[in-house]
Symmetry: C2
Subunit: 286 residues, 2 copies
């Protein structure tokens, strides 16, 4: 019979799976087993440490709901989500960044120029820019799906029990024939990721804060182009250098300028205090 | 500001934790981040794969209860539990093996020679042996905590709803002045680990079965000696070569001999069909 030991067990576990040779599943599974076993041997993991990890995962499972996904949060604070975003960003396109937990795939369509923050306190901003391909050709009819926190750092979906409309501060726009988009909203504030669970305990154990810099979320789509999920940040704001979830890229930081009259060529009639301009670049699919 | 990319993010995440330099926590955390990120870069993990892993963990959390710990099961089928057992086995001592999910820390004390399987069908076996130190000196007063499945492969704790006593097929013995232990019980049968959850799905995706070879569970303790958690298997039985949780070691396979009258020097009066002999060796603590 086979006699496995701490060095041969890795191959024994790999070969216990009868996966299709050379398949993606086999490659991912073998890689996972190798890294898990190497980590354990390199650090001589004790039974207490092993059980601590398993109980941590158990606790993450227990606090999770469809609205509160502690494993995504864990991925976020370990930079795993950001690394996957980076690896899968296409050269020439706008860099990807965190989807985050608050996306809704059925937000209402709105007309260009709409105001997303009726009755909201805070700094009113005009957000505008273009969607183009990587040769700067405007993409007409691109879909801009945006969502954001309010001027206090809260997402309306988090306050549904207090009567907030979960679709507030969300909108789906379509670029005009020049690839342009524009709307007004309130400037979002920084906020913390949830830190009342196991991931918060990990942050505290490592003396880390839970803050994210203020940002706007976007998913940009256009037929024939690879969709991008990303975030837009604002220069000179807090936490750009130590985002709890590593979502900031230098290329995703927009200028936040005081409003100086209207913006040239834009039929924006609303009042606003400041202007944010950000252009999105899409690369072809595949 | 810092501009992290897919290569610099690993150091950025490590340094985001302010851990005590050189501490065990820092070492384990940095190692985890490095392996997670290396794995992701090596395999160019896609968003779909990343989300599949997170949903798998979410599903493991949802099916878990204090009695059904899917993360331990995951650790078991990936050989992680076995590897931790191997790394932490002390030279000269009996090798460790899986604790498994069915241990109870308050099983009843029983006298040497007791029968653990009243009214149970199956092969009746005398189980006996010695507990010694690594120089073969007998250890009197060693505590032998044992639990097992029945002749159908079921643990009574799994059938409490059908009126089974959860302490059935369990016993805590103390070795005599010669370090000996003996008791009779029923020969356990092979059984499957639970495969109705996400881990079962993983096994099926990898064309693996969920069977474990028949075994007896033990925790052996003695003052001044390192406790061991282990399992004893039987030669020539099914699944020794492909235990679903990698618990088998060659050194943990006992001979299963037909009963030929009584066992020399043992005051065993009960009837039994077969004899299992296994000696446990403990190493000093620390």
């Amino acid at each position: 019979m086979r006699d496995i030991n701490q060095f041969t067990i890795t191959d024994a576990v790999k070969s216990s799976f009868s996966t299709e040779p050379g398949s993606r599943f086999e490659s991912l599974l073998h890689g996972l087993i190798e890294h898990l076993h190497d980590y354990t041997r390199e650090h001589q993991i004790t039974h207490e440490e092993w059980m601590r990890v398993l109980m941590f995962l158990y606790d993450c499972g227990k606090i999770s709901t469809p609205e509160r996904h502690e494993f995504i949060l864990l991925s976020d604070v370990l930079g795993w989500s950001a690394l996957v975003d980076m690896i899968n960003s296409k050269g020439g396109a706008t860099e990807g960044s965190n989807l985050g937990p608050f996306y809704l795939d059925d937000a209402p369509r709105k007309d260009l120029g709409a105001h997303l923050a009726d009755g909201r306190d805070g700094v009113t901003v005009l957000v505008h820019g273009k969607v183009t391909d990587s040769l700067h050709n405007p993409l007409a009819g691109a879909i801009i799906d945006t969502w954001q926190a309010d001027g206090a750092g809260t997402y309306p979906i988090q306050e549904q029990e207090q009567g907030q409309d979960k679709f507030d501060l969300r909108g789906v726009f379509e670029t005009d024939e020049q690839g342009r988009y524009w709307y007004t909203t309130v400037l979002p504030k920084p906020y913390t990721v949830p830190y009342d669970g196991p991931v918060g305990e990990l942050l505290r154990a490592g003396n880390r804060h839970a803050w994210r810099p203020a940002h706007l979320h976007y998913i940009i789509r256009h037929p024939g182009m690879a969709a991008i999920t990303t975030e837009v940040f604002f220069e000179n704001m807090e936490y750009l250098d130590n985002d709890a979830v590593f979502g900031v890229r230098r290329s995703l930081i927009a200028t936040l300028a005081p409003a100086r009259g209207t913006v040239p060529d834009l039929p924006a009639e609303a009042k606003f205090d400041a202007v944010v301009e950000f252009d999105f670049v899409l690369a072809p699919e595949g």
